[in-house]
C-alpha cells in the first residue's frame, strides 16, 4: 500500500512540526503555505521558551506541557535556543502575595525554581529593577522563531516532506458525500491553480483556522487574540524576566540576539490579516517593561509588531485555557478527511504535532507511535540545502 498522502495547510510551528512527525511515521507529506515559512503568528511570537511558570497557578495542564516541552526542545534543537534561564521578580507588595501560591504550583507542575534574595538577583542580572523585593530563578529560555520552524521543516524535508510556499488554499475538494479529499490551491509565484488530492487534510493555520473550516461550512472555535511586542535595541539582560503576579500586560521581557523584547497585551480582533500597532499599547509596553528593567527607558525601539494568538474556544482574551485542541471533523461534524489543530503556544509545537499526528494515524490505521521526543533535529539550514 503506497504511503498515505497528507496535506498540511500552514507552515507555522504546528504545521512544520506535524510535517516532521508524520514524515517519521511513514506518511507522504505536502505542506501548503500561502507565504513563506513562519510568516503568520509563529514568526512574530515573543520567542519565549516557556518554563510554564506563568501558567502554573491558573492553568496547570498548560504549565506541565510547557516545562516538559521546554526540556525536550533544549535537547533536540539547541542551535536556535538561548538557554539562559529566567527570573520571576516581585516589585510591589501585591507581587509578593502571589509568591506563595506560585512556589506551590510550580513544584506541583514539576517546574524547578529557586528563590533568590534581591542582592543575589541583582548580581546575576544587574539591569533589573534595583528595588525588587524578591526573585525566583526558573528554566525559561528564548529562541529564534524562524529558525525553530526551519529546523523542524528541514528535518521533515530530509525525511521526504515537500513544501509548497507562496501557495494559497482557495477551496477544499470533496468526494461528493461532503468528505474532504484534497485542496484547490493557487500557486501565487506562478499564478497557477492546482488541485491536490490527499487522504487527510490537516488545517494548521492557527489564527486563520476559521477561514479553512469555513470552506467546509464549519466554524472553528478559535478566538484570534492579538498582542503587541516591542523590541528595544540593547540586550540588557541574559535571562527572560517575568513579573511575579497573575498574567498581565507587558509582564515579560526577553533577551534575543542584541535586543530585549517586551510583551505582550491581549485584545480581540476580527480581521487577522493586518493588526495596526496602537500608540497607547507601545507606551504601555515601555512603562511595564521599564518597571522590570528601568534601563529600557534609555534604549530605542527597534521593531514594533502585533502577533495574533490562536486561542481555543469562545470567551474573550486571557481567560481561555492556554492549551490546544485537535478537532477531527469526522467526530465533530461528520466530515471525514479534515483535521483542525489550533490553540497552544510556540513552546508546545512538538506535542501539538504529536497529538495531531496521533489523530491522523488513527484515522488511517497507522499504528506507529511518535518518536520526535528523542530525534535531534538537523541544522535549520537543511531546509534550504535540500531541493524542494
Amino acid at each position: 500500500m503506497s504511503k498515505p498522502h497528507i496535506i498540511i495547510i500552514g507552515a507555522g510551528f504546528t504545521g512544520v512540526a506535524t510535517a516532521h512527525d508524520l514524515a517519521l511515521r511513514g506518511c507522504d507529506v505536502t505542506v501548503i503555505e500561502r507565504g513563506d515559512i513562519c510568516n503568520g503568528t509563529s514568526g512574530r511570537t515573543h520567542g519565549l521558551l516557556h518554563s510554564g511558570g506563568r501558567y502554573a497557578v491558573k492553568d496547570k495542564e498548560s504549565a506541565v506541557e510547557c516545562i516538559e516541552e521546554n526540556m525536550i526542545l533544549r535537547r533536540i534543537v539547541p542551535q536556535v535556543i538561548e538557554p539562559n534561564g529566567g527570573l520571576f521578580i516581585a516589585i510591589e507588595e501585591s507581587d509578593l502575595s502571589y509568591a506563595e501560591q506560585f512556589i506551590e504550583s510550580c513544584e506541583e507542575c514539576g517546574i524547578q525554581i529557586d528563590e533568590l534574595t534581591p542582592q543575589q538577583a541583582l548580581k546575576l542580572e544587574p539591569n533589573i529593577n534595583p528595588n525588587l523585593l524578591s526573585a525566583f530563578i526558573i528554566p525559561d529560555g528564548t529562541f529564534d522563531p524562524l529558525r525553530l520552524a526551519l529546523a523542524f521543516a528541514g528535518t521533515a524535508k530530509h525525511n521526504g516532506a515537500r513544501f509548497r510556499t507562496f501557495t494559497e488554499v482557495e477551496g477544499l475538494l470533496t468526494d461528493g458525500q461532503g468528505n474532504v479529499n484534497g485542496v484547490k490551491v493557487l500557486d501565487r509565484a506562478a499564478n497557477r491553480l492546482l488541485e491536490l488530492r490527499a487522504d487527510v487534510v490537516v488545517n494548521a493555520t492557527g489564527a486563520w483556522a476559521g477561514q479553512i473550516t469555513g470552506m467546509a461550512g464549519l466554524d472553528a472555535p478559535v478566538q484570534p487574540t492579538p498582542g503587541i511586542m516591542v523590541a528595544y535595541d540593547q540586550r540588557l539582560v541574559q535571562r527572560a524576566v517575568n513579573r511575579l503576579n497573575v498574567p498581565g500586560d507587558g509582564d515579560i521581557v526577553l533577551p534575543q540576539r542584541r535586543m530585549v523584547v517586551v510583551g505582550t497585551t491581549s485584545f480581540d480582533a476580527e480581521n487577522v490579516d493586518y493588526i495596526p500597532v496602537t500608540e497607547d499599547q507601545v507606551k504601555l509596553m515601555l512603562e511595564r517593561g521599564s518597571e522590570l528593567i528601568p534601563g529600557i527607558r534609555n534604549t530605542k525601539p527597534r521593531g514594533i509588531y502585533m502577533a495574533t494568538r490562536p486561542l481555543v474556544g469562545g470567551g474573550s482574551g486571557r481567560s481561555i485555557a492556554r492549551t490546544f485542541k485537535c478537532f477531527d471533523h469526522k467526530e465533530t461534524h461528520g466530515i471525514d478527511g479534515l483535521v483542525t489543530i489550533t490553540g497552544g503556544k510556540a513552546t508546545t509545537l512538538r506535542i501539538m504535532a504529536e497529538k495531531t499526528a496521533d489523530v491522523v494515524c488513527a484515522k488511517l490505521g497507522i499504528d506507529m507511535s511518535c518518536v520526535t521526543k528523542e530525534t535531534p533535529l538537523l541544522s535549520y539550514r537543511q531546509y534550504y540545502t535540500i531541493p524542494n
Binding site: Q79, H158, P376, L378, S379, R381, Q382, T385, I386
Partner: protein, 131 residues
C-alpha cells in the same frame, strides 16, 4: 554543535587562486610604488631637456652605474607580474569556465615572460651602449 552537514556544497570552491597569488600582488604593489616615485623623479627632474626628460645620452650615462639596470630589471619584473596577476583577477570576475581560465593563465604567463625578457634585454643593451 549543529549536526554535521550532510549535503554536497553548491559548488566546491575551485582551488587555484590561493594566498600566494594574492601575496605576489600585495608584495609587488608597495615595492612598485617606491620604485615608481624614484622613476618619476628621475625622469622628470634629472634629464637635460626643458621638461626634464632624458636625452639618449642621459639615459646611457644613467645606466652606467650597474645599480640602475638592476633596479630597472626588478622594476620591470615586478610591474609586469603585478599587472598581469591583477588582470587575471579581473578575468576571474568574469566567471570564466575552467578551460577558459587555464587558457588565459597560460597566455598571461607567456606575455609576462616575453615582456620581462624583453625588458631585461633592453636594460642590458642600453647599459652596454656606454661601454
Amino acid at each position: 554543535m549543529t549536526t554535521p552537514s550532510t549535503f554536497k556544497p553548491v559548488s566546491s570552491p575551485r582551488p587555484g587562486e590561493t594566498a600566494w597569488l594574492w601575496l605576489v600582488k600585495i608584495v609587488t604593489g608597495p615595492l612598485l610604488f617606491l620604485i615608481f616615485i624614484l622613476h618619476l623623479v628621475v625622469n622628470h627632474y634629472l634629464g637635460s631637456t626643458a621638461s626634464g626628460l632624458m636625452t639618449y645620452d642621459d639615459v646611457v650615462a644613467y645606466f652606467q652605474n650597474p645599480l640602475i639596470p638592476a633596479i630597472e630589471i626588478i622594476f620591470v619584473t615586478a610591474v609586469v607580474t603585478h599587472s598581469l596577476v591583477g588582470l587575471r583577477g579581473i578575468v576571474l570576475d568574469m566567471n570564466p569556465s575552467r578551460p577558459a581560465l587555464n587558457a588565459v593563465t597560460v597566455l598571461l604567463v607567456a606575455l609576462g615572460a616575453a615582456a620581462i625578457g624583453y625588458g631585461i634585454w633592453l636594460a642590458l643593451v642600453i647599459a652596454a651602449k656606454g661601454l
